[in-house]
Symmetry: C2
């Protein structure tokens, strides 16, 4: 039922729905904008492909000047490396025997693969696997920011950095530190203050490692919410921006450096086309797009052109819209275009993204990393 090649040239309004659509002009401007803004700051860009899971979009990011990409899962890293992306930093540890072997096999095949680590046993296991594979594997140390992943900053991190550095089959390449809870703080100044405060122990850790003579070629972190904040962080090399390519309602509402209310550094390029199935009840519409089309993320999806619509995607198969004011009355079969709440997990529901220019489908972008949750 997927419309592939035959969709080229179609109006986005004629696609079977739910359909995930990206406005190519907007996405291309977003991909360019991050480099324009960061030019001369010394901060590079290492986009996180967990957002789009598409080698085609990763290639556009590399062409625009990205240093490489980040991946969240071994399966995503493999999809990127096998489809023309040469440099992939895997931000998640691999801690089982099976995945450690696969990770080092991937490194043997692709020189540009970099693996995150955060505990001593895992460092020893990676060393053993790298030795068995006759390689010297690039690794970065993940530093704990939000009690989720990584080793504690300061001396514990320094000790592990030295441990890696002494392993004959591992190359210590630096650190990563993701401040996940800061990214969606509303208000630029508040976000800036929290981001820099949160990073203080990370910076001290960086300074300790630098003073110890360790290789600090990578100091990676941040995201779309803090991309323009990190340049004052000493030694920081690159931001792991993900959502900036698509944007979503969660990010639009945090405000930016130049616009207090709307984070408009990047344009919302990703939308879901949906169809009205039922309009029998006043102040209410049913659509064909529920939680299997939008996820349950909040705030609710945003219907373009209908600011008073409350879109409820709570049911698996149906969306329900309630409203008091409507700009027009819709008949069954009409379509709506909708900005999703949170782009990353929504893309993970779709096999393809329709690339649209001037409302016409120009390309069908395969989400080759979809479902690669392992």
């Amino acid at each position: 039922m997927i419309q592939e090649k035959e969709s080229i040239g179609k109006s986005k309004w004629d696609l079977d729905t739910p359909a995930l659509v990206v406005d190519l002009d907007k996405m291309e401007r977003n991909i360019k904008a991050v480099h324009t803004r960061l030019q001369g700051t010394g901060v590079g860009v290492r986009p996180h492909i967990k957002t789009h899971k598409s080698p085609a979009i990763a290639k556009m990011q590399i062409a625009a000047g990205a240093l490489g990409v980040c991946a969240a899962k071994l399966g995503e890293a493999e999809v990127m490396l096998e489809n023309g992306i040469d440099s992939v930093l895997l931000t998640t540890v691999n801690v089982t025997a099976s995945k450690i072997v696969k990770s080092m096999a991937l490194r043997k095949k692709h020189n540009g693969f970099i693996q995150a680590v955060d505990n001593p046993q895992n460092i020893q296991d990676l060393q053993d696997a790298a030795k068995a594979a006759s390689i010297v594997a690039d690794v970065v140390l993940d530093i704990d920011v939000i009690k989720r992943s990584g080793v504690a900053p300061g001396e514990p991190a320094l000790a592990l950095a030295h441990m890696i550095d002494k392993m004959p089959n591992l190359k210590f390449c630096g650190i990563l530190a993701y401040d996940g809870t800061v990214q969606h703080v509303v208000g630029f100044k508040e976000r800036q203050a929290q981001a820099l405060k949160t990073y203080e122990p990370i910076v001290r850790t960086y300074e300790l490692m630098k003073a110890a003579g360790l290789n600090m070629e990578i100091f990676s972190g941040g995201g779309t919410g803090t991309y323009d904040i990190m340049s004052v962080v000493p030694g920081f090399t690159d931001v792991q921006v993900g959502s900036y390519v698509f944007m979503d309602r969660q990010y639009i509402e945090i405000g930016g450096a130049n616009n207090e209310k709307v984070f408009d550094d990047f344009e919302p390029s990703l939308t879901v086309m949906t169809t009205i199935l039922n309009n029998y009840h006043p102040g209410r519409l049913t659509t064909d797009s529920g939680s299997k089309a939008f996820t349950l993320n909040q705030p609710s999806p945003l219907v373009l052109g209908e600011p008073d619509y409350n879109y409820i995607a709570a049911a698996d198969e149906y969306g329900v819209i309630t409203f008091e004011k409507s700009n027009k009355s819709y008949i069954v079969g009409e379509k709506l275009e909708i900005i999703p709440p949170h782009c990353d997990p929504i893309v993970n529901l779709y096999d393809v993204i329709y690339g649209v220019r001037n409302e016409r489908v120009e390309s069908v972008i395969e989400v080759l990393g979809r479902g690669k949750s392992q």
Copy 2:
């Protein structure tokens, strides 16, 4: 990175994670149990495959005595019909020109395809498409129960039934009515009372149609939460049970006819295997399974063997477990087995389900309808 054939024979504890696993003994007992319970009641079973999206499981349901299956989306119906399932009732209307043509083309190819309708324009459009395809298409009328889909019960429904009945290229086959909000009412007696009360206007509609001499061979509705309640509904032909094959935390907690606290008519057969990535913080574990593995459905996923664990799947890529009491202390790399909150949308995240017997992988079940949201 997906482990296909090479997974056969492996212990489920050795699968790369997150991995979706079904205990085949439990699932087979569930598939049998619904027929055993309903034997002699006059109520048939038409399982909803939106839950498992797998022709392989649909075949087991048919072999156990199901009348056919229901599908929620045209793409799902196509996957079933093209993979050996002969009778598919599509419970959702198709209201765009493109999908109406596809729906009638599917009916032309497969006699066992039944399409739901709920509005007059759509009936006319289906008639036109069926005529153009030189077929007489089976249709059922969807009756409104929860203000989401369907036409109002009573005279409005009767008028549409007559309209369908008069169409030369459509065959009126009866009605469907899904009481979605009743399914998860906690407590069997309360659920029974609400289900029967909710169905009163539907039953009056059935009686009107029956008295008018219309073909009422299908009167389909209900679900896992009301499967053993519907036999007292006059004319009711079949329950659209879905979740009963897998169960999930949402259904376990509603209670059953024989057990007030636990709905144990069916056994939880579906679990997610997950790996512990980080244990640095007391009372806290990080896993590799977040909202892309579990969805954001509530209540939280249930860790087998650790009743005091609070599993938070709020982040896309990571799960975080917090606890005060733990039955053992886990090291990094150890695995946990987890009952998901809500089975339907979780299955939609995975390409395969590992079929396990006595903890060993016996089959790799392809979720061929995954992502068929159109």
